[in-house]
């Protein structure tokens, strides 16, 4: 799936930060977006917050199921890669993502070491559906 988008001149943004061990977040989004005693960071809560349609919390496989509307630019929701890259690499989310969670490419991606293909980590939603709430 992973095609290296563009090859650009050097001086662009370069990344620093801690080394995330390969399997800190084995299922990607839903391994990091969890509820703890301090905060509920599950994506259903975030969807409410950013006023996403109910289609977000009704998706079963995160983020592969989001492709229904976010596969690429032509999808009704736009390309998920761009939305997610942009938000996680722009402050204030970036600060939290990197400093608090040691986030890195491999928090969401995984290298298939036999084929040399980078893949997206994925997992089942970690919340109960709210069927009745109208939106």
């Amino acid at each position: 799936m992973m095609r290296v988008a563009r090859i650009l001149a050097p001086a662009l943004l370069t990344l620093t930060g801690g080394i995330a061990l390969a399997d800190d977040y084995p299922q990607g989004c839903v391994s990091c977006h969890v509820a703890t005693e301090q905060q509920d960071m599950r994506l259903n809560v975030i969807f409410d917050h950013i006023e996403h349609s109910m289609a977000g919390q009704r998706t079963l496989l995160i983020p592969t199921g989001c492709a229904r509307c976010h596969a690429d630019e032509k999808g009704v929701g736009g390309a998920l890669s761009k939305l997610i890259h942009r938000s996680h690499y722009t402050d204030p989310v970036q600060k939290k993502f990197i400093n608090e969670f040691n986030g890195d490419c491999v928090s969401c991606h995984k290298m298939d070491t036999d084929t040399g293909q980078a893949e997206i980590r994925s997992g089942k939603r970690n919340w109960q559906l709210r069927i009745l709430s109208a939106k």
Partner: protein, 134 residues
């Protein structure tokens, strides 16, 4: 292809004399060519000897890279995504195959960001590049 990749991985491993230190700042702003260099005394590099890409490739029998100016951009003239040997596949395999033994993962932390950068406003991942050093 696999044979070439294995050969390159072996040569790579043999050429490395590793010092253990964890990189914090971006040690490789230009990607490939910032790591693949000739190690001189006091350079702080984590290996000894000639680790540039051209001599490493020459050892695998790869033809002379006369027309390459920018690495790895110009490699994709032959190794495009649609070719039989896409550059991403080759380079990922050389650095990640057999991760328990691969020097890139065991000694260099296997970090994506040594070669990649993120264009945050565009939300697009990039490949760092720089002028050839051979």
């Amino acid at each position: 292809m696999r044979n070439g990749i294995h050969a390159l991985a072996l040569i790579t491993a043999a050429g490395l004399l590793v010092v253990s230190a964890v990189a914090t700042a971006d040690d490789y702003p230009q990607g490939c060519v910032d790591c693949h260099r000739i190690s001189e005394k006091g350079s702080g590099l984590r290996y000894e000897g000639d680790f540039r890409i051209q001599p490493l490739l020459a050892q695998t029998g790869h033809r002379w890279l006369k027309k390459i100016k920018t690495v790895p951009n110009d490699c994709t003239k032959c190794h495009s995504d649609d070719s039989d040997l896409p550059l991403a596949t080759i380079v990922h395999l050389v650095h990640f195959e057999k991760p328990e033994a691969n020097v890139y993962t065991t000694e260099f932390g296997g970090k994506c960001a040594n070669c990649h950068a993120m264009d945050a406003p565009a939300g697009e991942a990039l490949v760092k590049s720089g002028p050839k050093n051979w």
